[in-house]
């Protein structure tokens, strides 16, 4: 069964229109976090980090709840599926709109995070180096978001989505912070990454591949469903 690109973009456009206000707020907060990152004051810079991180996490929750799970909860998914569209087009549109909105906010938040990091601040005059770290940061968050988004689309369950989102954010995140330094291969990898070694392009490529696999996997699992409401 084919997918009509114009239908997908029309459906994705609908999502962007309906979430235009939170999106505008997120972009504004992202711009503020970038501005804070340029401050010489350590406390203000920390505030920028907190804001950027919260934006990444907050938008992840907001998009999966509002844009994906909310459609079923508010019975608007039935309205969309009553139109001359296929379930495959609806899934594709959800992936396109959610990833686009997350990336838009992420552009600002990743810029703030990279600029604030010791690596990023040293690289500011070197555009390519800065872009590489920017890509790694944004790519990492997109991979995590794709896992949460895929869970929401496939499971259609708020519970499972929260378990995965919470697990990735708090358990994995805190676990890495607490135990990461004890793992020698992980510290060696981080050192290589910071110094712009082979780990940098490898990480970028790995993130791109993971993102592609996750989106394809979500689509594949959706295709195997036998009930769409």
């Amino acid at each position: 069964m084919r997918v009509n690109a114009s239908t997908v973009f029309r459906l994705a456009g609908k999502d962007l229109y309906l979430l235009r206000r939170p999106l505008l707020l997120a972009v504004t907060l992202g711009a503020i976090s970038v501005a804070l990152a340029r401050s010489n004051d350590h406390s203000v810079r920390s505030l920028g980090i907190t804001l950027a991180l919260n934006l990444f996490i907050g938008m992840c929750f907001h998009l999966v709840i509002g844009n994906v799970l909310g459609e079923r909860e508010k019975k608007t998914l039935a309205f969309v599926l009553a139109q001359p569209v296929s379930h495959r087009e609806v899934t594709a549109a959800k992936l396109v709109s959610s990833i686009s909105m997350y990336t838009l906010c992420g552009l600002f938040a990743a810029a703030a995070l990279v600029s604030l990091s010791p690596v990023g601040r040293g690289l500011t005059p070197h555009l390519l180096g800065w872009l590489a770290y920017f890509g790694v940061t944004l790519g990492g968050f997109l991979v995590l978001f794709a896992i949460v988004l895929g869970t929401a689309l496939v499971s259609e369950s708020l519970g499972w989505t929260m378990v995965v989102a919470g697990g990735l954010t708090f358990v994995l995140g805190n676990g890495l912070l607490m135990f990461g330094s004890r793992l020698t291969y992980l510290t060696a990898y981080a050192r290589n990454l910071v110094h712009g070694g082979a780990a940098l392009p490898a990480t970028l490529a790995l993130e791109a591949a993971l993102l592609l696999c996750l989106l394809t996997g979500t689509f594949w699992l959706q295709e195997r469903k036998t009930s769409f409401l």
């Binding site: 608007t76 039935a78 309205f79 139109q83 001359p84 296929s86 379930h87 036998t226």
Partner: protein, 253 residues
């Protein structure tokens, strides 16, 4: 006005041995053929399988076995083509609360090649809906009317309605039924609607299918059922446990 077509060789719907298993419910096997241009009422108690049947027709529920043909097009293989000619309104459906009626019309028009803008405006006026109104502020009756406008303006050949009059006051229910009757008569649209209200079925349907425990237990023309007595009594008799003895004859009726 589109001229009424007197006969259409392809049935609007053909279901063959349709079955679907759920953890606590088995739907089917269901065989059903619906001629184009008729209004078919699906009557059944809550949980009889009416919504499952309508969703299976629309491809929203995939059967474990059996086949579905909508307007001669096999589902889900030719879902795209079929859905262009099929509209669906359900009580489990809602418009976007933060968007206006005008926005909904634009959205639906953008996805439908057969959208009739003039008819949509006419229906809005007839139903007393204002394009600038937000869906959030609409009453249950207005919401149903908006969903009807969005479905009817697509000029579907097959219209599926899942409990369309549920929760409506008598005046709105009368208006909705009237519009649907006009549509079926003037546009040769096939209507399949579900209801647990015998009154809806009696007023609107040409033929009635009674569903019980996921199976068709009775199919007959409305005149025939009326001749047997009060529709509610006929319905209750059809779903009573001792109705099984006359099932073969009843299904074929």
């Amino acid at each position: 006005m589109i001229p009424r077509i007197e006969s259409e060789p392809v049935p609007a719907l053909r279901l063959r041995q349709l079955e679907r298993d759920y953890p606590f419910f088995h739907f089917g096997p269901v065989d059903l053929e619906v001629k184009a241009g008729i209004t078919l009422g699906l009557l059944g108690v809550n949980g009889a399988g009416k919504s499952t049947l309508l969703r299976a027709i629309l491809g929203l529920v995939r059967a474990d076995s059996g086949t579905v043909e909508v307007l001669g097009l096999p589902m889900p293989g030719r879902e795209h083509e079929a859905k262009k000619q099929v509209a669906w309104v359900s009580e489990d459906m809602a418009p976007y609360g933060s968007a206006t009626i005008e926005w909904h019309l634009r959205f639906a028009r953008g996805l439908s090649s057969s959208w009739d803008a003039e008819y949509a405006r006419e229906l809005l006026n007839r139903f007393g809906l204002h394009p600038g109104q937000k869906a959030r502020g609409l009453s249950r009756g207005q919401t149903v009317r908006l969903l009807m406008v969005l479905a009817l303006a697509r000029r579907p050949r097959l219209l599926l309605l899942d409990e369309p009059t549920a929760g409506l006051d008598p005046r709105v229910r009368h208006e909705v039924r009237q519009e649907l009757r006009d549509l079926a008569r003037e546009r040769y649209t096939t209507l399949i609607f579900s209801s647990h209200l015998t009154e809806d079925v009696e007023v609107m349907a040409d033929e009635v299918v009674i569903l019980h425990d996921g199976r068709i237990v009775r199919r007959a023309a409305i005149e025939r059922l009326r001749a047997e007595g009060d529709l509610e009594t006929v319905f209750l008799a059809a779903i009573s446990p001792n109705a099984g003895a006359r099932l073969p004859e009843a299904v074929c009726a």
